[in-house]
């Protein structure tokens, strides 16, 4: 996939879950902290991440494929190349990932970076067609949202100021 410097990388990993481990996976996912306490917040280049259990694939009639096989689906959109993200993820949230992924067949753990990356590569599903609404890093998105908030506040607060006061206030706030 061609990728400009600012286009996030899409990672899609689908791995078979060991038989009988489905409930453990669900319990682990339910216990993972969310929001600002999410492990993924520690990998600061991550825009989005999701983890879900696919209990079974369906056949053409909508019935579960036999023999039953559950899959763990992990997806993330992040800045920069996969190797960099995977190295940071292994370092920062490896223990969290290990607790979930250790229920997948042949998961080697995150302590060996090359084995971890090999597992990801082996189970990676390519993004075929993508819609990307904005091509900006997580940091750029957050900075822009904060700037927009500040500019709205400034626009309201500066109403009625004379030219000199306006220029001075703006320079103090935004040109420092």
């Amino acid at each position: 996939m061609s990728r400009s410097a600012e286009q996030p990388t899409a990672l899609i990993v689908m791995a078979p879950v060991r038989g009988g481990a489905e409930q453990s996976v669900l319990a682990l996912l339910a216990a993972l902290p969310s929001g600002p306490d999410s492990p993924f917040a520690r990998v600061r280049t991550t825009h989005f991440a999701r983890v879900l259990l696919i209990p079974a694939l369906s056949d053409e009639h909508g019935e579960p494929v036999s023999p039953a096989q559950a899959y763990l689906l992990f997806t993330a959109d992040f800045d920069g190349p996969l190797e960099q993200w995977a190295a940071t993820a292994a370092r920062e949230i490896g223990a969290d990932l290990d607790r979930v992924f250790e229920h997948c067949e042949r998961y080697p753990g995150s302590r060996d970076p090359s084995a971890f990356l090999h597992f990801i590569d082996e189970h990676r599903v390519a993004a075929g067609f993508s819609i990307i609404a904005y091509r900006a890093s997580v940091a750029a998105v957050r900075e822009s949202l904060e700037l927009a908030r500040e500019l709205r506040g400034f626009a309201v607060a500066s109403q009625g100021l004379g030219a000199s006061e306006l220029a001075s206030a703006w320079r103090e706030r935004f040109a420092g």
């Binding site: 996912l29 819609i131 904005y134 949202l145 927009a148 709205r152």
Partner: protein, 185 residues
């Protein structure tokens, strides 16, 4: 699947006719490069990132063994979008029905994008619940982010222009900036 945050996740994995998987595999690289394909979807303005993929096989259970071919190819659709899944599917159905056919026509059981109710039922029946979801900026919709990025760029240009201006000229330029930027704020 429904969260209090603005961004939501939907994930659908569905078996697809092999001939359709071949069609998707051939057309997606081109579709990714054609603004005419992407633009109407982006104009819907509630998608952050969305991806369609084909899943054909799983890695072998043991080193050195062959990869395991799945009984069918599967289309995997996953999207990060704003707010409400029904509204999302409605918009797909009403605004870009041709693109939905081009994507889903070969999926077993696809009822077509219209009538909307049948399409909504099809998606809801196949959506896999998301057990864990993370968004780095949960307070922001896709439109808010696109606007904020555009506003940042406008402001950067304004700041560069304003650097050497006297107070009166600054005030005039600031008024122009506000006029240009008000729809982005």
């Amino acid at each position: 699947m429904e969260h209090p945050d603005r961004a939501q996740a939907v994930t659908i994995i569905s078996p697809v006719h092999r001939s359709w998987a071949l069609w998707l595999g051939l057309t997606w690289p081109l579709a990714n490069r054609l603004a005419a394909v992407n633009r109407p979807l982006l104009r819907l303005a509630f998608i952050h990132f969305a991806h369609w993929s084909l899943v054909r096989r799983m890695p072998p259970r043991a080193r050195g063994a062959d990869a395991r071919r799945l009984p069918h190819p599967y289309v995997l659709f996953q999207s990060n979008f704003n707010d409400d899944l029904n509204a999302y599917i409605d918009a797909f159905s009403l605004v870009v029905p041709g693109r939905m056919r081009a994507m889903w026509q070969g999926v077993f059981g696809f009822p077509g994008p219209r009538p909307v109710d049948r399409f909504v039922s099809f998606v809801r029946a196949r959506a896999t619940p998301t057990q864990y979801y993370y968004c780095a900026y949960p307070e922001a919709s896709s439109t808010m982010i696109s606007s904020a990025l555009a506003l940042s760029e406008e402001h950067r240009r304004f700041a560069a222009e304003a650097a050497g201006l006297g107070d009166a000229a600054f005030a005039a330029r600031y008024a122009e900036f506000l006029t240009r930027a008000q729809l982005l704020m």
